[in-house]
């Protein structure tokens, strides 16, 4: 009979001064040694729940109702000193971005030591020193004085995160809250960090809450999973139950939006978006986007129905979910691509000042083909894309459009060349001018490449409709749109020029999984309807299954493997590709 390490009862966190909840009716339990994965997209409130376990609410919010019990003690009953003792000592936190969570002005030794001094003050100095070294050894970091004298900026991202993990486990807490700790790390480092977290949780019998938007990672790590949507937990159960027998329509749609590395199913997005705090109705939040919605869904928020022991979902129609016909597994759309070349890159060597970054790149993109360029950060894929678009002119070798060799700088290229190659950037928040309306941005593009007499408003409306945006969006400023909508505008802008080649630079990395799936859908359609060739850059191996015909794998400025998607992903030749595949988490592999 093990008591829960963590018990949350009906927790409500609301905005100060407004009658709007950030999260509400949150109830969960974590037993010692168990990992609970808390899954949700941006705005779901999962970080708020994580922080609540430490008794912390971000500025502007406060706990409205409910209780959080750690080892049976109610956090609300603790005074300041008690709360301080709890944080770090009983419940520890592993932050999302160690780069900003470690103090840039203090040495590592101090940042680690102060934790021990604050919570293990009763132990002797020698004991605390020993514990310090032990914690670093546990995360496979050196524990010598030289390393401890370093500042955070002198460590790599992976090392910083391991320091954060060492800090969290140093005082042997009973509970750990991990807030998406592997975001921003490349796949190999991520795999190692996850392994470390898992091993430490097991060896010290720690109850862990793992907050993440990445379902594949959660599948590999968690024992039990809870899914959050717009501030509520909509489904909770064991890992197997959730991933193989999900009941809530949102969970099921979410699972279908996650790209499948094995390629057995296509991705499907979820149209619409989740309601923000203050705009949530009295009834089911998912109803506007739900294929199973009926009148009863609009009456009141569904209570939790229990399907199997420990498996609950808040949906009136959860019974019917299994009856939905699954979408047949098709991977990339097989568009017959012609042997004619849209783009050819030959012998490209690029530099940043004195530093060489690309070595001998030879690549061809056929007409109507989608070629994916895959690699981790620093592999040079973005540099290559920029060279193609004329944004990086420090290179030797040639980039050919059709038969013509293009000058390196975009400014030196002909209007025709600039029209034919269009670039879509990764960050939709930065690639649109915030002081121009959507309509003005698209119109400018049309003016540049198709100066003409037809009514501009009409032409802009056409461009927007092409990317499934209503014509009324033309009057909106970028900050009034969601991330997915902004990215559609960026695509519309590129397509307004009617290019032959579109370079997509990690265009979905900054978007939620469901939005990403919708954009991929859109790209597939546009490829056929507009006869585009795509150069698709990404670090996500699973994603390319959904859209690419061929794949080029890059590392350290070189292409190490090139071939049809299925072949490269199922029978890779290069050791680097094999390693990459082995380290990529996937839902199927976890089962």
């Amino acid at each position: 009979m093990s008591a829960s390490a963590v018990e949350v009862r009906d927790l409500r966190v609301e905005l100060v001064g407004r009658d709007a909840d950030i999260v509400d009716e949150i109830s969960l339990e974590i037993r010692p040694g168990e990992v609970l994965g808390l899954v949700g997209e941006s705005g779901s409130g999962k970080t708020t729940v994580g922080m609540a376990l430490l008794g912390h609410v971000r500025r502007g919010g406060r706990v409205g109702a409910g209780a959080v019990l750690i080892d049976g003690r109610d956090l609300a009953q603790l005074d300041d000193a008690g709360l301080r003792g709890l944080r770090g000592g009983t419940v520890a936190y592993i932050p999302q971005d160690p780069g900003t969570s470690l103090n840039p002005a203090l040495r590592l030794r101090l940042q680690l030591r102060e934790m021990l001094d604050a919570h293990l003050g009763s132990q002797s100095e020698a004991d605390r020193d020993a514990r310090l070294r032990e914690s670093l050894e546990e995360v496979a970091l050196p524990s010598d004085d030289g390393f401890l004298a370093r500042y955070p900026h002198q460590l790599s991202g992976g090392q910083q995160q391991r320091v954060a993990i060492a800090m969290a486990f140093a005082c042997r807490p009973n509970v750990i809250v991990c807030d998406e700790p592997t975001t921003g790390l490349d796949v190999t480092t991520q795999a190692r960090v996850l392994e470390t977290v898992r091993d430490l949780c097991r060896s010290h019998n720690v109850a862990a809450l793992y907050v993440s938007h990445d379902l594949a990672v959660v599948a590999e790590l968690a024992d039990r999973v809870a899914v959050m949507y717009a501030g509520r937990i909509v489904e909770a159960g064991t890992r197997d139950q959730l991933f193989y027998a999900a009941r809530h329509p949102y969970t099921r749609r979410l699972l279908r939006a996650v790209p499948d590395l094995q390629g057995k199913r296509a991705v499907v997005g979820i149209p619409g978006f989740a309601p923000l705090p203050g705009k949530r109705p009295e009834w089911c939040f998912f109803e506007p986007r739900c294929p199973l919605a009926t009148d009863v869904c609009r009456s009141a928020f569904p209570p939790a129905f229990e399907f199997e022991p420990d498996h609950r979902a808040r949906c009136y129609h959860a019974d019917e979910a299994p009856r939905e016909v699954p979408v047949e597994g098709a991977t990339a759309v097989r568009v017959e691509h012609e042997p004619e070349l849209a783009l050819a890159i030959r012998g490209l060597d690029a530099h940043y000042g004195a530093r060489a970054t690309l070595f001998g790149i030879d690549l061809e993109v056929h007409r109507h083909e989608c070629l994916a360029l895959v690699g981790e950060s620093g592999s040079g894929k973005t540099t290559l894309a920029r060279c193609v678009a004329g944004l990086h002119k420090d290179y030797t070798g040639s980039v050919c459009l059709g038969d013509d060799v293009l000058p390196p700088a975009a400014r030196s290229r002909s209007d025709g060349a600039r029209k034919q190659i269009q670039y879509v950037f990764q960050n939709p928040y930065a690639s649109l001018n915030p002081r121009r309306t959507v309509g003005q941005t698209v119109a400018r593009q049309l003016e540049l490449f198709f100066p003409g007499h037809r009514d501009m408003g009409e032409r802009v409306a056409e461009c927007l409709e092409r990317v499934a945006l209503s014509a009324s969006a033309a009057a909106a400023y970028p900050d009034e749109l969601s991330g997915g909508e902004r990215q559609r505008v960026a695509i519309a802008r590129a397509l307004a020029a009617e290019p032959a080649v579109m370079v997509c630079d990690e265009i979905t990395s900054a978007l939620d999984v469901s939005v990403q799936a919708a954009i991929i859908d859109l790209l597939r359609e546009l490829r056929t309807s507009m006869g585009l060739s795509l150069l698709f850059i990404t670090h996500n191996l699973a994603l390319i299954r959904t859209i690419a015909d061929r794949v080029a794998v890059m590392t350290e400025g070189r292409i190490v493997e090139l071939g049809p998607t299925a072949q490269v992903l199922e029978r890779p030749n290069a050791p680097y590709t094999q390693q990459l595949l082995a380290n990529t988490p996937s839902i199927a592999a976890a089962g």
Binding site: L83, G88, T100, P104, A105, L106, Y151, M167
Partner: protein
């Protein structure tokens, strides 16, 4: 890091050299002849010619510049056109007085504004913060002669009579021997400078208190005191250092007006007299000094920032 420091030094020297060119060129803009201006009514053609010779005014411009800059570097700044006294003699006493004034003002202003800034940040949005913020806003707006005369009206002539309105010193007497005389001028400088530094400190402290690493420090269960003094302040103080240095540099110009208000015998007042008399050697010297102080303070600010920021201190490049 060393490379960075050498670069800054070199840039500083380059700036100083360019400044000297501008200061020298100002003389060339004088309408009429410098010699005629000096002799005034006693200007006969012979005497003008003789003086021109003596002042090397017949040499080429470049040669004149080199002679002047050579003099500056060796400590001889020429002779005052008004009194024929060597400029260095004229200014040496006054430099001491001005330096004293600036030091007193800085010694009070800098710790005061930093403490005030942190204090305001920690009481953010409360009534005291609003009052303090408005006060600093008002003080920051007022020109320094308005503050100075305001203080004179309040504490010297019309409301209270605690301090002298004019800084009278007997010849040979130094400012620190008669501290009463320094109080109001220094107070003016303090009131002129504190608003800026304290507002920066407040803003930067608030920004740091909202940072991820301070939140993390709180989530580690550290006492609030440790969080503020060990984690927040070392980061928050960096912009304040830069601003403090800039304000010290500003004081090089600020003392001109302040000394004039109080007739304080410093180089600022000397400059105003020199301008009124078109006494170019004095004007040039004081201007070079002021600009030199500015360049020096900027250099110190840059160096201090590098020393205090581990990222810059340990940069390999």
């Amino acid at each position: 890091m060393r490379k960075l420091i050498w670069r800054r030094l070199a840039l500083g020297l380059l700036t100083l050299w360019l400044i000297s060119l501008i200061v020298f060129a100002a003389v060339l803009a004088l309408p009429g002849d410098a010699a005629t201006a000096i002799l005034g009514r006693e200007a006969t053609p012979d005497r003008v010619a003789a003086l021109r010779d003596q002042l090397n005014l017949n040499d080429s411009v470049i040669s004149q510049y080199l002679q002047w800059i050579g003099g500056v570097l060796t400590g001889s700044f020429g002779e005052s056109a008004a009194t024929q006294q060597p400029v260095s003699e004229l200014l040496s006493e006054r430099v001491g007085n001005s330096l004293f004034l600036v030091l007193v003002a800085s010694a009070v202003a800098i710790p005061l504004s930093i403490a005030l800034g942190v204090w305001m940040a920690m009481r953010r949005d409360r009534a005291v913060d609003h009052v303090a913020s408005t006060t600093t806003l008002v003080l920051a707006a007022l020109p320094e002669f308005v503050i100075g005369i305001g203080l004179v009206l309040l504490f010297a002539t019309s409301v209270f009579h605690w301090f002298p309105a004019v800084s009278l010193l007997a010849p040979g007497q130094r400012a620190w021997e008669v501290p009463d005389v320094v109080v109001l001028p220094a107070a003016t400088l303090v009131l002129a400078v504190t608003p800026y530094i304290s507002r920066i400190m407040r803003g930067s402290t608030i920004e740091v208190l909202e940072s991820e690493y301070v939140t993390m420090a709180r989530l580690k269960g550290l006492s609030e005191r440790t969080v503020i003094w060990r984690h927040a302040v070392p980061n928050a103080i960096v912009p304040a250092i830069q601003v403090a240095a800039l304000q010290l540099a500003w004081m090089a110009g600020g003392i001109v007006v302040v000394e004039f208000v109080f007739s304080y015998p410093g180089i600022g007042a000397a400059l105003v007299d020199a301008v009124a008399n078109q006494d170019m050697p004095v004007v040039q010297t004081v201007t070079m000094l002021a600009a030199g102080v500015y360049v020096l303070m900027n250099l110190i600010a840059d160096l201090a920032t590098i020393l205090v920021t581990p990222k810059l201190r340990t940069a390999a490049r």
